[in-house]
Structures are given as C-alpha cells and as structure tokens.
C-alpha cells in the first residue's frame, strides 16, 4: 500500500530553535515530493523535490530528498512564531494523484 509517513506528528520549540521535520514514503511510480505549510486555511506550497541530494532553500526553510532511502527532510532555522503551522509532506505518483502524509504540527513559542 502506498503511504507517506511524517514524524514527529507534533513538535513544540522555542523561538530561535532549529527544527527538522521528517517524511518517509513508500510510493510506487514515484514522481516527486512536495512540502506544504498549512495554517488555519488552505495549504500553501513550499517546495517540490524531484532529484536526490539537491537542497532547495527559501529563506530560513530548506529541504532535501533522498530517493534511495525514500525520505525527505524539511529544515527550519531560527524559528519564529509565524512558523507555527501544520507541515504536509506529499508524494506525487505517476498516473494517479497525490498521496498526503498526516502532517507535522509545529508550535513555536515566544
């Protein structure tokens, strides 16, 4: 069965901390992996990863994909309260649609 597993399911950190969110996947005909940030509204796109070992960065966020070990990580450095959200890891499967993980809830306290 195709699946995307995220860990931890929830995380509480202090402002300024660095966090790493994990995502492992077992998906047949895997095409790419996407990360979304969801606050109290629709998910917003962060990254799309298609190649192993190439880090994508956007400000304090970065992500990398390992297609051999079937996982991805999302790093957030110098966390801020505005980073508090649910982070969704999504695998794109050729021929069908997207397979979503259950998300990691990040809470950043000031």
């Amino acid at each position: 069965e195709d699946k995307v597993v995220q860990s931890p399911l929830s995380l509480v950190v202090h402002e300024g901390d660095t966090v790493t969110l994990n995502c492992s996947y077992e998906v047949t005909n895997f095409r790419s992996l996407l990360w979304y940030k969801q606050e109290k509204k629709a998910p917003t796109f962060l990254f799309m990863l298609t190649s192993s070992g190439i880090e994508k960065k956007s400000g304090r966020l970065s992500s990398i994909l390992d297609k051999k070990e079937l996982f991805s990580i999302l790093n957030i450095t110098a966390t801020q309260t505005g980073d508090s959200a649910v982070y969704l890891c999504v695998a794109n499967q050729a021929g069908t649609a997207l397979i979503f993980g259950k998300g990691t809830t990040l809470s950043v306290s000031s």
Binding site: A42, P43, F45, T50, A94, G95, A97, L98, F100, G101
Partner: protein, 118 residues
Amino acid sequence: NAGVTQTPKFRVLKTGQSMTLLCAQDMNHEYMYWYRQDPGMGLRLIHYSVGEGTTAKGEVPDGYNVSRLKKQNFLLGLESAAPSQTSVYFCASSYDASGRTISYNEQFFGPGTRLTVL
C-alpha cells in the same frame, strides 16, 4: 487573478439533504481536485479531473459526485449528506502540459469549505 475560489465557505446540512460545492479557478489550469481534510487524517483525495468533461475517482469517492462541464469550474455534489461527511473540503488546481499523467506541478488550493452534517 482570484486564483482558486470556493463557494460556500460554510454550510450546515441535515442528514439526507443534498448540496453542491463550487470550485472556480482563473488560471487556465487543466487539472482540478477535491480533497477532504479531517483531524488526524491529513488531506484525502475525493475526485479529480484532468480536463473539461473528464473526472476520475480518488481515494475516498463514495457518497460524492463531481462534474467538470467547464474548464474553470469543478463541482462536488453530495446527494444524501451523512454525518461522516462533516469535514473541511479543499479544491485545488494545477497545470500540466506533459500529457495524460497527473501533474506533479504545484497545486494551488482554495480557501476551503467547512461543512457540518447534523
């Protein structure tokens, strides 16, 4: 550009009632999707469409029907609502010029519709 819009934003139904959720996008996207989001379950795909006049089942299609009569609109219908359909529904769209496979490009999401079935 309004992006992806959903109508209505909130709705309360009684068991057995029917309703239609409307999703509209103005980005000329080929693909459109309907998801439901429940606590602890993540997002689950209900139905999707790869072009005007086409629809396909997703992960949890039972109890729902969809139609894509116009490229910019994707309708989700509940024929006889049940309490198990209480959820937040998200519509999304994406563009793919590569052929028949589902796009792996970024999906743009609507703001969601919160549906409660009593």
